[in-house]
Structures are given as structure tokens and as C-alpha cells.
């Protein structure tokens, strides 16, 4: 039973979302403020956090940042559409996905399921359980779902991990942003490419890529991204 931490200030929306998520079979903890949400994080140990960006007191963005400081739990932001700047900042701060208010329960549910699948299963090239692969200083263990860089473990959020696994499953192949959106986020074809760009940015930072000349994740102008193994 997946555990969902819901941080939402409006009582009606909170109650509605709690009802709907519980009906979907989730165990739900609802928090009214950012502080309360952060407090529940340790005791409740959620599988996913649904976080409203418009919060009184500590803002949703700040809550997102504090969660990411020591946890890779998937975060789904709930935003008002048009808060474009907040979406970009939220994604770069470490949110895995976002939904726009007013949101229907089945849409929220689908996003939660997609984000949880990212943690559970990763695509493997031939169906079998391969040994860990090494690309330059990067070591990707598809079975154990761990990534190390120069021997040190790299803590990756689910979407970052899934993105890296997707790209590295076919080194040299170019993936368009829309393809990556479908593969990693399970969005429709017309999804928001900023999810991909923000995630690539975070991933590059975490595996210590130089921003000017990335070694592993290359930008292919006009098309998308490609994983390369440095010699």
C-alpha cells in the first residue's frame, strides 16, 4: 500500500484529495503547512510526496528544497497553471513531476503510479538482469538501481535515475524530449519538455558533468539528448 504525504493548505482540496487517494488504495497523511509536512516526513516515511506550491509560511519550493537535502523520495508538485517560473524553479529544485490545479483524481493517481514505477522497475536492454555497466568514471548497476561516480554513490531521485537508465540503455541513440517524456514520465506526447531539460540539468550536476562540455549526456540540437560513453 503506497504511502502518500499530502501537503496542501486549503482544507477542502486537502480533504478531497485525501478521500480520492484513499479510495485508490493509498495510505494518506495530510499536512496543512510546509513545516508540518516536513515534520511528518520522518515519522510517516512516505513513498511519494504531493506538494502544493502555494503554501502559507514556508513556501512549497522551500519545502521541496529541504526534502531533497536528505531524501530522494519522489515529489509531485501541485501548481496553478501559468505559474511558469515556479514550475521551472520547482523542477530544478528537485521535483519529479507536476500536476495543474484543478486536478482530477485519476490524473493525480496516474502520476503517482508512474513515479512509483520509476523506483521499482528500470528498463533493461535484453530482459535479463545485466551486470553493472561502466562508462568512463560512471558505474550503473541496473539490478541494484545504484549509480556510482568515481566510486562514490550518487543519490538520484527516481526520475533522474530512470532518465539515466533510459538514455544509457542505448548509448549513442538520440532520444527526443517527447520520447523521453513518454518513457520516463509516462506523459502523453504533448507533455512539457521542461521536465526533461530540468531533469537533465539536475542529473548532470549530480554526476559531476562540466556544464560546458558534458561527457555523458550530450545535447543534440534540435532533436534531444544522447548518452555517450567517454573513452
Amino acid at each position: 500500500m503506497p504511502r502518500v504525504l499530502l501537503i496542501e493548505d486549503d482544507p477542502a482540496v486537502r480533504e478531497g484529495a485525501r478521500l480520492a487517494l484513499r479510495r485508490q488504495g493509498h495510505e494518506v497523511a495530510a499536512a496543512e503547512t510546509g513545516e508540518e509536512g516536513l515534520g511528518r516526513l520522518r515519522s510517516f516515511r512516505p513513498d511519494v510526496v504531493v506538494l502544493d506550491l502555494m503554501l502559507p509560511g514556508v513556501s512549497g519550493l522551500e519545502v521541496c528544497r529541504r526534502i531533497r537535502a536528505d531524501s530522494q523520495v519522489p515529489i509531485i508538485m501541485v501548481t496553478a497553471m501559468g505559474d511558469d517560473v515556479d514550475i521551472v524553479v520547482g523542477l530544478e529544485t528537485g521535483a519529479d513531476d507536476y500536476v495543474v490545479k484543478p486536478v482530477q483524481a485519476r490524473v493525480l493517481e496516474a502520476r503517482i503510479r508512474a513515479v512509483l514505477r520509476r523506483v521499482e522497475a528500470a528498463p533493461s536492454p535484453d530482459g535479463g538482469v545485466p551486470a553493472a555497466e561502466t562508462y568512463g568514471e560512471l558505474r550503473i548497476d541496473r539490478a541494484g538501481l545504484t549509480v556510482t561516480c568515481r566510486g562514490a554513490a550518487v543519490p538520484l531521485a527516481p526520475s533522474e535515475l530512470r532518465l539515466l537508465l533510459t538514455l544509457s540503455a542505448a548509448p549513442g541513440r538520440v532520444f527526443s524530449r517527447q520520447q523521453l517524456l513518454q518513457a520516463v514520465w509516462e506523459h502523453s506526447y504533448h507533455g512539457d519538455a521542461r521536465l526533461v531539460d530540468a531533469c537533465v540539468k539536475r542529473l548532470r550536476t549530480k554526476i559531476g558533468e562540466p556544464s560546458r562540455q558534458p561527457r555523458y549526456i550530450q545535447t543534440v540540437r534540435g532533436f534531444g539528448y544522447r548518452f555517450d560513453s567517454p573513452r
Binding site: 477542502a12 482540496v13 486536478v103 483524481a105 506526447y189 504533448h190 545535447t219 540540437r221
Partner: protein, 507 residues
Amino acid sequence: MSPRTSLPRRRLLRLPLPSGLRVRLVVAFGLVAVVAALSTGALTFREARTGILQQSQDTVIRLLRDRVDTLAPDLAFPPAQRDLSSFATEVAQGDPARRWRVLVTYHGLSATSIPQDPFTEPTPALRRAATTQTPTVFQRVTVGGRSSLVVGMPVAFTALHGERRATGLTVFLTVPQSAEQTYVQALVAAVERATVPALGLAVLFALLAAQGVLRPVRELRHATRRIAEGRLDTRLAVNGTDELADLSHTFNETAAALEESVAELRRMEAKARRFAADVSHELRTPLAAMSVVTDILDEDAAGLDPDTAAAVRLISKETANLARLVEDLMEISRFDAGAAALHLDEIDLAESVQRTLSSRAWQDSVATRLPPPGALRGRVDPRRLDVIVANLVGNALRHGASPIRLSLHEHQRFAPGGTDGTERWAVIEVLDSGPGIPETVLPHIFDRFYKSDTARTRTEGSGLGLAITAENVRLHGGTIRAANHPGGGALLTAELPLLEPEKEDRS
């Protein structure tokens, strides 16, 4: 208030004068200067010439009379040829400058002061007048470009009882008037010389005056153009108190009034739009709470008694409609606020169109003519392209009739600024098989909440679909239009420029 109709009349009245205020002023000033100089010169010349000639003529006549009066008593009567000759010579000596030539006649005899002088200057009329009349006669003659004064003086004597009687002796005198001629020529030259600088000065003053008039006029013209371009804060500097300053002042007042009323209109419009945006915003929170639970209602409706189930389903359906309306309102508010942003991504447009149709299960209702995969790629906002295609097709499905045809193709368009002189455009055409759009409706089809059928108070859509489509097309820098196809049916065409891949790295 109809400049278009008054223009031809003004053209008719207009003389073929040199155009341009500057030229006209110069010509006018020049003409005035020339006329003034010439008339002043002519009057001065005439007076001066008359004065000079009169004076020299009086002097000559006086001198001649004195000389004749002195010498005549010594002349023997009737004089012989020899007496006449010596008399003529002596009279000629009366001029200290020795310029006199004298002819003396007495009944048929004649003698000149200079021997063999033909003495042709006196005209027969003068000769006749001099012999028949008592007073002195004179005439100015010009022979061979040289003017001379010719005087004819009959010599009379005074009898004992005081009566003057003619003696029959007549003295003719010719004096060249070269000095006087020189004076007169000098006068003419002086007038001429004065005219040229006067004309020059006149032109200079004309240019200065033109500058003084033209500068404010030019400023006024520039300011008017700036106002027309929408820069309503344009004002003129007002110098002096003349008519042009008045005009500038009036212009400033007009501009200020215009700026004020435009600002007021904008304020009101912004207020109205903000209100719509605020209302949508406020509606969203309760809607968010309602939307998130409608799925529960739908799922459980089956287990309720029929009336309650119908009511619950109605609430669920209308909540979804309301949510869509509010979403559309907020979307249009963002366009109004200029907050709508493009998130461009390089995609295959044909694939995008196909996904739009398949995600809404429209493949069977729409006949498509699309380019092959990979043939038409371009940088667009995928989400907005989806909105555009979905709304065009959705509109055709709702208001038109099947079959609906959708075509997508590339169009090369001439663009002077683009690479290799052309721009690539994607053309999306959606044609339905319905009755078409009434001509009166056509111009309003992209208006918000425009209802073509006034009897129908509600359509399935929010009433904002095509308005949002048009805004999305414009945001891409494209165009959208509606027309009736000659073969029947409504044809909606959206054209989007396909931007070249961006130069900088997106990451």
C-alpha cells in the same frame, strides 16, 4: 471630417507653383526685393537725370545768352560772311572748357566756329523754331551713341521804346553732354549694383524666415508621426507667442488629452481583465476540491437509487465543464496579461497531429493528409500545437458535419530577412462537410463566447476554444483564418512559422 472628399478640390485650386514652403518664400521675397529695388532705382534715376540735365542745360543757355548779349552789339548789320565767322568763333570762346561748337545763320548766310563743320545736329524743326520764335529753343540729340545739347537762340535787340525785335541772326550751339551721360550711366550702374545685393539679402532673409517657419512645422510633423506610431507622450517645445507657438500649444494639449483618455481606457480594460482573471482564480480552489472527488461520485453512482445517481452524475459532469471553462478563462487571461510563454521543442509535426487525434479517439472521424514521418520537423510548442489542432478539429466535429478533412503541409514563403531568402511555414487546414459559416458570423468566429446561433444558449465547448486557438497561433507568430470552401463546408486554416533550430545549447 472627410479628408478623402475634400482632397480633389484642393488639388484643383492649387496652381502649378513650385511646391515647398521654402521655395515659395524665396521666390516671393526675391520678387519683392527686385520690384522694390527696380522701382526705387527707376524713380531715383528719373529725378536725378532730369535734375542733372536741367542744370547743365540752364548753365549752357545762360552762358550762351550772356556771350551773345556781350558780342552782338559789336556785330555790323547786315553782317558779311567774314563777320559771321568771327562772331561764331568769338561766341564759341565763351565756354572755358572749349567744348562749344557754334553755327551762326543770317538769312541764307551761315558760319561755324570750326571751319567746314557740317553741323548736322540741329533738326529742321529746331532750325525752323529758332528762326521763327523769339525764346530760346533747345533739344537733346544723340548721334552715334553720344548725346549732345543743341540750343537755338535768335539774336534780338531792344529798340529805343523797349520793344525787342528779331534781327534775323540765329546762333546755334552744340555741347556734347558726355559728363552728364557719365553721371547718368553711373546712376544706372549704382542701381544695378544695388539690386544684386538686395536680391541676395532678400533670398537670405527668405531662407531665414523659411527656417523660422519650417522648423516648428517640421517638429510638428515629426511629433504627429510619433503620436500616430502610438508614442502618446510626445510633446513639442513651445517657443515664443506666435501662431506657430499657439499651434504647438494646442498640439500638446490635444496629445495630453489623447494620452489621458487612452490611459484611462487601458486602465479600465486592464481592470476588467484582471477581474476576469481574479474570478477564475477564486473559482479554482473550490473547483479543485470538487474536481478531485468527481471520480468517486462517478464510481459510486451505480450503487445509488436512480434519481440520486442521475443527480450525482449531473454534478460530476457539470463540475468537469466548469473546470474546463475556468481553465480556458485562465488561459485567455494569461494571453491578455502577456504572461503566455512559448516552450519550443523540435518535433515532427505530422506525428504530433496524429497523437492529438489518437489521444481523443478521433482517427476514424477525420480523414488526414499528412507528410511522411520526419518530413516536416520544426520548433513549436507541442502543447500549444495540440491545443490548436484539437480545437480546430473539435470545432469542426461540433459545428460541421462529417467527413472532416485535415491536411498538413509545408509552405515556403519569401522572407527577405530569413536564411536563403525563404521561411518555412506549416499550414494546417481543417475542412468540414457542413453548411459552412454564415457571412455575418465569419468575422466573429474567433471572438470570445461568440454564439453563431442566438437561439442556442450553450454549446458543448466553453465558447473560448477558437479564441484560445487564435491566441496560440498568434503567440507562435502565425496567422489563422476562416472561410467557406467553394466546394462547401467551413475551412479553417492556421499557419505557423517553423523556426530554425536554436543556436545555443538548451541545457
